[in-house]
Symmetry: C2
Subunit: 235 residues, 2 copies
Amino acid sequence: MSMHRSPSTGFSRSTEDYLKAIYELETPEAPVQTSAIAGVLEVAPPSVTSMVKKLSESGLLQHLPYRGVQLTPAGRLAALRMVRRHRILETYLTSKLGYDWDSVHEEAERLEHAVSDELIERMAVALGYPEFDPHGAPIPTREGMIEELDLLPLSDMTVGSCGEFRMVSDRDPAQLRFLATLGLRPGTAFTVVGRQPFRGPVTVRFGGPGREREQIIGFELASALRCAALDEEVG
Amino acid sequence: MSMHRSPSTGFSRSTEDYLKAIYELETPEAPVQTSAIAGVLEVAPPSVTSMVKKLSESGLLQHLPYRGVQLTPAGRLAALRMVRRHRILETYLTSKLGYDWDSVHEEAERLEHAVSDELIERMAVALGYPEFDPHGAPIPTREGMIEELDLLPLSDMTVGSCGEFRMVSDRDPAQLRFLATLGLRPGTAFTVVGRQPFRGPVTVRFGGPGREREQIIGFELASALRCAALDEEVG
DNA sequence: ACAAAAGTTTAGACGCATATAATTTCCCGA
DNA sequence: TCGGGAAATTATATGCGTCTAAACTTTTGT
């Protein structure tokens, strides 16, 4: 008897974690490697192998031994339901309970396994069906549809181009706090005014009229900032 | 590595469940029996015995073999923190997210293991530090202080006496829905106008001026309604 | 006062998710 | 094409919380 299963999905907490991690590691190119999953979930590789075996037997993912795994449609749907929960929770905590954007990830990471679909939908209603979370990530619909954004890292943008900062990972609180001190939030428009080679820093100009300013951003941080390219500034 | 522990308390989900269950079963008279805990938690009696052994080794409760268990001060404090979480959650879900009072228990039962102390305090602030949950149960303070109410079952009140319905268990959704259809909610004042012997029904008069009415309430339900006795109606 | 009934504990096992150590497979460079 | 290194898998074990079956107390009824 017993065994703690999540409401709505009916999967164990671990299963939910694996599916979400695999979803977030997926690329169109290659299957997701065992070691990558182990890294994200902070478990040993053999633990991943054994969970992967179970999940593939449940039809949630396809295991190509020694190559990696891919989500099946069923697995991807389950993963997207977890992503929806996570992002709605982050949005709710930020908008309704005064959390800062750097502290919601951890709280949502725990709550996503405990909330019912009903609670998530009530939160979504209270928020007016938000489309993006506080970090700019799109929120999947209840049906598992997600808007695929075509964004590129700030570090890849050419000097002179204009763009808008749209999204950043929710996983690094220190990084998020730093962005907050810079005044960079999703929606901030900027112009790339400089960029050093060899993974060097990027310089951007941004800020509302009057308080416009230039900011130097290190390569690592610039790679983490996902941006939409806007039309070139007309010289 | 691993093992899912709750934030803030640092106890496992099961430990939290046991402590809360034992707290709610405690009486000044006798220790809490193994079978009572097994009943509430829906586990087999031997499972209780083995958990009880662990918890008493951790100093959370005292085990009197074949007699039962009692919470130690540390165990009671931990239990009261869970009770606080549960009741704040129920109040928040009802007040801020439109839940009915019959459906919050189940949701809170899961969430209480996942929320951080910070989230609970933010909810408490948003609610204005409520003193009672939607079912009339007092909410312990952060420090584990709880207001001991001196209430008696409606089934024990004498004919002719006046009282105020104050509290009912949150565990039976059907019972709660029925009370809602009767218009009986915590705070409702009434007069006992009749009572049958041999665990028979109780008749009460209640309702605001104009819509006052009499209602027959079966013994079982009447036993569940905790009431404060008011002064006798002056004849 | 004692035997049956009721309740509790011990004994032994399982499922889940994890771990470490040893083995196997894959891939790439010489 | 073959050997070495990186990665994955198998084999085996552990901790937690649960279970059933059997043995043991305590309570109860006559």
